[in-house]
Amino acid sequence: MSTSAITSPPVPFGRRIKRFMADRPLVPLIILLVILVVILQILRPGIVNERWIANTIKFAIPLAILAGCQTMTMLTGGIDLSVGTVATMSAFIMATQIVNQDPSVAFLLAMMPAVLIGLVNGIGVGVFRVHPLIMTLGTSLIGTGCLQVYQRTVIASGAKIPDFLAWLGTGVTWGFPNALLLFIPLAALIVFTLARTGFGRLLYAVGDNERATRLSGVQYWQVITALYVTSSLLAGITGLLYIGLIKAPSLSLAEPLVLPSVAAAVIGGTSIFGGRGGYTGTIVGALILTVLTTLLTILQMPEGARRILFGLIVLFVTAAYLRIVEER
């Protein structure tokens, strides 16, 4: 122990901390989460109990899945701002189609816009090389327009929330939210895909050095198209889960989740420039943001201040990560 300390060259403390944070972003994130929970407990003694934890997890799960979309697209240096619209569309279509249709048919109908928007995003970004931000913003605008037209055609038939989705979204069994039944396999799949499969490696490769990846014979547009379709499908599934949680179909249902989903992925240590990051950090990031939102609500901070805070978080965390990467 002492010999190794003598032989290793002295590294400044601050530098060591930075290096540690860069290598294991999960540790400081979990510490931050615990600190936030402690502050919450101090401000409102007794608020942190079993029910509160279940509730927090319930609200963090849709955010975490959407942040998963952002994580995967950010790994390639992209971003997907259409997730909010896609989630809203699938939720709204599900709630209105279930009235006259078989659940499986309604489910397929609800997933259709997700696949379409993902496909258009992927082709625009992968083939035409539009910046992902502009592309996904454009498709989300078109999607919102389509939804408004669609709303008129179903205004007479009404809407209802399928019991199964309500059970999945809000139900709690033995203290555990039912949504975990969906989320744990999904999260495991994303983590596994990113870390252990060829597709995951391609995402990191494309984000790290696109030119080198292409010269090694990777079909860039195929990777990107598959990525954006996957991202949209995840967003569609989130929409179904979220409607079970919120239980009120509206045309801007999941829109408020878009901004925090970007922030959660950035906080979780995924670089917005691509090539670095992972999903486990993002999950903790989503939990942090959910707790932070509770905290801000208790402090009676208005919605505007919350948005300012999220924007500043994205900016400062990105700048900090840039510094850490540059120092190496």
Partner: protein, 323 residues
């Protein structure tokens, strides 16, 4: 030949397209007259300023995602300051709001230069921040606007010696737009600073080696963008009489018009005239769709699809140009 076509022919082609669209509008609606043109000019006004804001930054080799949020913030600030205040108070509000846009834009540029985070991330973060600030100023559409400001863009300009029939085709809104843009753009284009903006957009390294103060120029480009966005926010308040904290679809529209106007998204190319004409083209398409009695929601879809197609086309051209 192709170089000449790309430089001048693009704008000429856009003008031709605009004229064709006007003729098409007259065919669809034979009664389309000067009054309708006036309302078109009023509708174009905020879009045109948003596009001008985007153009300056794109020429300098960047992109500004906070344009729409900046317009929302300046608009609600103006509306809430003018609500219930005297007419003279607005004389103080207008320069204040413009200065606010200039400072916030410069802040954008400063953050990009200091943190070295890419402009797309910085302006995205600023989009969140400005949106939040707009909600803090007014949490629901409201406020007011001074009477003389509203009058500034309604009606037409009477020019002595010209028959009324000609006067009627010169709406005040169009004149306001031309004057505001020319006052800023023409001196800029002819100055050393304007040249520097084109230089850093064309090649930052080459500009740096030729002694162009790259950082300062970038900050100024973003400050000008903020100023134009503040004009846009004022135009919103002037035309609606209130301020709305939720940004309109100006970001995508501005990028689409910039691309359609022949400004390369890589930077260093193009002018302001092309994008402004492009805005008129895009707005006139919308007018035509409305005149054809198409459902307004469907119109929004078609408009969005056109903008996405234009941006895709522009990206395709840029990609081909690089190869």
């Amino acid at each position: 030949m192709s170089h000449f076509l790309r430089r001048q022919g693009w704008v000429i082609g856009l003008f031709a397209l605009l004229i064709v669209l006007f003729i098409a509008t007259r065919i669809i609606q034979p009664g389309y007259g000067s009054g309708d043109f006036g309302s078109l000019a009023r509708a174009v006004l905020p879009y045109a300023f948003a596009v001008a804001a985007q153009t300056v930054v794109v020429i300098a080799g960047g992109i500004d995602l906070s344009v729409a949020a900046m317009m929302a913030l300046t608009s609600v600030t103006a509306a809430s300051m003018m609500a219930g205040a005297s007419e003279e108070h607005a004389l103080f509000v207008v320069p204040f709001v413009l200065a606010m846009g200039l400072v916030l834009g410069a802040l954008n540029g400063l953050l990009i230069v200091v943190t070295r985070v890419p402009d797309i991330v910085v302006t995205l973060a600023m989009l969140f921040v400005l949106q939040g600030a707009a909600l803090l100023v007014l949490d629901a559409p409201g406020g007011g606007a001074a009477g003389w400001l509203k009058a500034l863009i309604s009606g037409t300009v009477p020019i002595p010696g010209l028959p009324d029939a000609v006067d009627a085709w010169l709406p005040k809104a169009l004149l306001v737009l031309i004057v505001c843009l020319c006052i800023i753009w023409i001196p800029l284009r002819r100055s050393r600073l304007g040249l520097s903006i084109y230089a850093i957009g064309s090649s930052e390294l080459a500009a740096f080696r030729s002694g162009v103060p790259v950082k300062r120029t970038r900050i100024i480009a973003y400050a000008l963008s903020g100023l134009f966005a503040a004009f846009g926010g004022l135009a919103l308040t002037m035309s609606t009489g209130i301020g709305a904290p939720i940004p309109g679809p100006y970001l995508l529209a501005s990028v689409a018009a910039v691309v359609l106007g022949g400004v390369a998204l890589g930077g260093g190319k193009g002018g302001l005239l092309g994008p402004i004409v492009a805005v008129f083209v895009l707005r006139l398409v919308r007018t035509d769709l409305t005149l054809l009695a198409i459902d307004p929601n469907v119109t929004a879809i078609i408009e969005g699809a056109i903008m996405v197609a234009v941006v895709m086309f522009g990206a395709f051209i840029t990609m081909r140009g690089r190869q």
